[in-house]
């Protein structure tokens, strides 16, 4: 009896550790059956690629404390390599099945990171950031000149269906490719998680927090950074290989500062302090991008503003905001937060919508064709040159801001109160 109990304990512990992963597998398998139309599959593919890329970025920023402005380089280089290999499969009959391509892309990313890391990981912080920016710009600019590898302005493209079929699948549709991408996504996420649990991963955290002390313990801070950097390059390369498989084209755009900046943005929005942060960031950002860009021309402005607000007020990102609620949830006090939330978030949300409405009207008035004064916003058609819409949106924005700001301390107090473990009943 007692023996079976003893034997069962480690299994339950392992089961608990594995349950998020099992849940993720079930989710990934179930999703294409729930959302089966092709646009949903396209978005999910994009999401999965972005997740791998964001997780690899967070190996640097969150776990290693290295802020990179040129991480797109390793994804892009891996992708270009995968694209060339696709060409070799087509022309020279290279016997590599398509699902294995990301591995080689990853190895190429690793090789590039291993070369560049020798001098870029000498410092963390500002020095590393500047060097990564310079290298990123250098390689992005080179891609226009070195036509043999990067294909110049138009980039390089290929055909994924030319390789040997795998179990009869020839990868014609994005639905088939989904299985490659999501499989690699799960595998790389798991490997990156396990990497963060290894002694090297732990040392990366130590070097991030206090490099001097880590050096005193006998570890070379530079060496630890170098290993993280190489591992991150490997997984970014895998993301690049997946990108090549999914889109079948790579251009300068995959290497430049805009792409590197976007990955920083979504990783930070998700929350750099948590393993799941970049995953949430990638999912939310991809959805935001898809949904908002269909609705408004100003989506990049909104995302930029959201980013600045996040950096200023919520340095933990979305995941940080979620984790605040774990304690009240465990104590069964989430219901106490309902009313303070309603009092702060509701006016806040209405105020933000009012402000966005004001911006949209202003944008329309400035940039619409001459004589075009009619605009539809929130299903209401109105004239942008009359004073009423301006006044209404401005008043709504102001009132919402005032109310939210007035009630915010109450929400904070309620949160603190609900999280306090040993309060008197």
């Amino acid at each position: 009896m007692s023996e079976t109990a003893l034997a069962a304990r480690p299994t339950t512990g392992m089961l608990r550790a594995a349950s998020p992963w099992l849940g993720a597998i079930v989710l990934v398998v179930a999703l294409p059956f729930v959302f089966s139309d092709s646009s949903a599959i396209t978005i999910m593919n994009q999401m999965a690629i972005t997740i791998v890329f964001a997780l690899s970025y967070n190996m640097l920023l969150g776990q290693g404390g290295m802020l990179s402005f040129g991480h797109a380089v390793y994804m892009g280089l891996g992708g270009f390599m995968a694209m060339h290999m696709m060409g070799w499969i087509e022309e020279d009959g290279l016997p590599i099945p398509l699902p294995l391509l990301p591995l080689f892309a990853g190895l190429f990313g690793l090789a590039c990171a291993a070369v560049i890391g020798t001098f870029s990981t000498r410092r963390a912080g500002t020095g590393f950031a500047m060097i990564s920016l310079g290298i990123g710009e250098l390689i992005a600019a080179c891609s226009i000149i070195i036509v043999a590898f990067f294909g110049g302005e138009e980039g390089i493209s290929g055909d994924r269906t030319m390789g040997p079929p795998v179990f009869g699948v020839e990868w014609f549709t994005s639905g088939e490719v989904y299985w490659i991408i999501s499989g690699w996504m799960l595998l790389s996420a798991l490997l990156m998680y396990l990497f963060s649990r290894t002694p090297v991963g732990r040392m990366a955290n130590a070097v991030r927090d206090n490099p001097e002390r880590a050096e005193f313990l006998g570890y070379s801070a530079r060496w630890v950074r170098y290993i993280s950097f190489c591992a991150s390059g490997f997984f970014a390369g895998i993301a690049g290989g997946l990108f090549a498989i999914n889109y079948e084209i790579l251009t300068e755009e995959n290497l430049n500062l805009a792409t590197s900046g976007a990955i920083l943005l979504m990783t930070f929005l998700g929350g750099v302090g948590f393993f799941a942060g970049p995953i949430i960031g990638a999912i939310v950002f991809t959805l935001l991008q898809t949904v908002l860009s269909l609705q408004t021309e100003l989506w990049a402005l909104y995302v930029g503003a959201l980013f600045v607000v996040t950096v200023m007020f919520f340095p933990g990102g979305l995941t940080g905001l979620l984790t605040i609620h774990i304690m009240p949830w465990r104590l069964g006090r989430l219901s106490e937060l309902m009313i303070p939330y309603a009092k702060t978030l509701l006016p806040g949300a209405i105020g933000v919508l009012g402000f966005c409405g004001f911006l949209e009207i202003l944008f329309h008035a400035r940039h619409a064709a001459a004589g075009d004064h009619e605009m539809i916003l929130f299903w209401i058609t109105f004239d942008t040159h009359g004073p009423l819409p301006w006044i209404i949106t401005a008043v709504v924005a102001g009132a919402g801001y005032w109310l939210a700001r007035r009630n915010a301390p109450e929400l904070k107090a309620a949160l603190d109160h609900a999280s306090a473990p040993d309060r008197m009943p």
């Binding site: 920023l61 404390g65 802020l67 402005f69 001098f119 000498r122 410092r123 912080g125 500002t126 020095g127 950031a129 500047m130 060097i131 920016l133 310079g134 290298i135 710009e137 250098l138 600019a141 080179c142 000149i145 070195i146 036509v147 043999a148 590898f149 500062l257 900046g261 920083l264 943005l265 930070f268 100003l298 990049a300 402005l301 930029g304 503003a305 980013f307 600045v308 950096v311 200023m312 340095p315 911006l359 944008f363 400035r366 940039h367």
Partner: protein, 318 residues
């Protein structure tokens, strides 16, 4: 000879323009340890404000008013944004300024659209000052040189000769002591940030008419400015000057001499392959010096970092 002379002058214009940006950036960095990623965005704002003012009252009031407005905005950013992020450390500060750069670009597009503005040099400077051979040297370029040199001299005088400069220099090295002596160090920081961004604004006003006033102008110059201060040594004003001039001349000269890779290869006795279409190294033969002029600064930076990690004149570690 004439070509060399005109290139020297053109390179001087580019270099001094770069220096106006990198001086402010390096000053802010040495003071607060913050690398202001949005510095080039303030340069862009300077150009746009200068353009907007020039449409109503002409170029000259814009030269004075636009930098002041940009400087005030910079001071506000320091006071309400950076100071709040400061307690989290340098990396969040850098991320904040990066976000600010994104936001400023979007805001500029919001108000002025994506097209280039018709911002032109003032009529009074629209003549040829002198000519070297066939190459005309416009008066506006001389004006740019004069303004940049004047700004540098004023800056140097304030830093080295006045009491304000003394306090700033002291606050650089011993902020706590200076604070204990009764100076308001946060206000000094705000002032330095404001002046640094105002310098970027001046650069924007005088560069906007020649380099073009469009939403991408911050990105075009921004990375080069960072390269400049890394090459010069983070926090070193003289290093920034030397690196700016070097990079200005480097790119200007590279753009005028049409040396191709084949010429270089011929020097070491290599002949181009007969079948160029399928050779993996074909780009080595076809690339030309003007083509790679824009990436020379980055290659220079990598070389400097490998052989002299603190930059040309920097004392602190990068």
């Amino acid at each position: 000879m004439e070509l060399i002379l005109i290139n020297l002058l053109d390179g001087l214009v580019t270099g001094l323009l770069l220096f106006m940006l990198s001086a402010g950036l390096t000053l802010i960095f040495s003071m607060m340890g913050v690398l202001n990623f949005a510095h080039a965005s303030f340069y862009m704002l300077g150009a746009y404000f200068g353009y907007q003012i020039s449409r109503y009252v002409g170029f000259w009031p814009g030269l004075v008013v636009a930098p002041v407005v940009v400087g005030l905005m910079g001071a506000a950013v320091e006071k309400y944004g950076l100071r709040r992020v400061h307690k989290h450390g340098h990396v969040p500060e850098l991320i904040f300024t990066f976000g600010l750069a994104l936001l400023i670009e979007e805001v500029v597009q919001f108000f002025w659209g994506k097209n280039q503005m018709a911002y032109t040099p003032p009529e009074a400077l629209n003549f040829t000052l002198f000519a070297i051979g066939d190459n005309a040297f416009p008066a506006y370029k001389f004006f740019m040189i004069a303004i940049s040199a004047a700004v540098f001299l004023v800056l140097l005088t304030i830093l080295k000769r006045t009491r304000v400069g003394l306090v700033i220099q002291a606050a650089l090295s011993y902020p706590q002591t200076v604070e204990a002596l009764g100076h308001n160090v946060p206000r000094v920081f705000m002032g330095v940030f404001g002046v640094g961004t105002a310098l970027a604004g001046v650069a924007g006003v005088i560069a906007g008419p020649v380099l073009g006033t469009f939403p991408g102008m911050a990105v075009v110059l921004g990375s080069i400015v960072f390269v400049t201060i890394v090459v010069g040594g983070l926090g070193s004003l003289w290093g920034a000057l030397v690196a700016s001039l070097l990079i200005g001349w480097m790119t200007t000269f590279a753009k005028t001499y049409n040396v191709s890779g084949a010429d270089v290869m011929a020097l070491i006795g290599l002949v181009p392959p007969t079948d160029m279409s399928d050779n993996p190294f074909r780009d080595v033969w076809t690339m030309t010096l003007p083509q790679i002029a824009d990436i020379l600064p980055y290659m220079f930076m990598v070389l400097v970092l490998v052989f002299r990690p603190n930059g040309l004149m920097g004392r602190r570690e990068t």
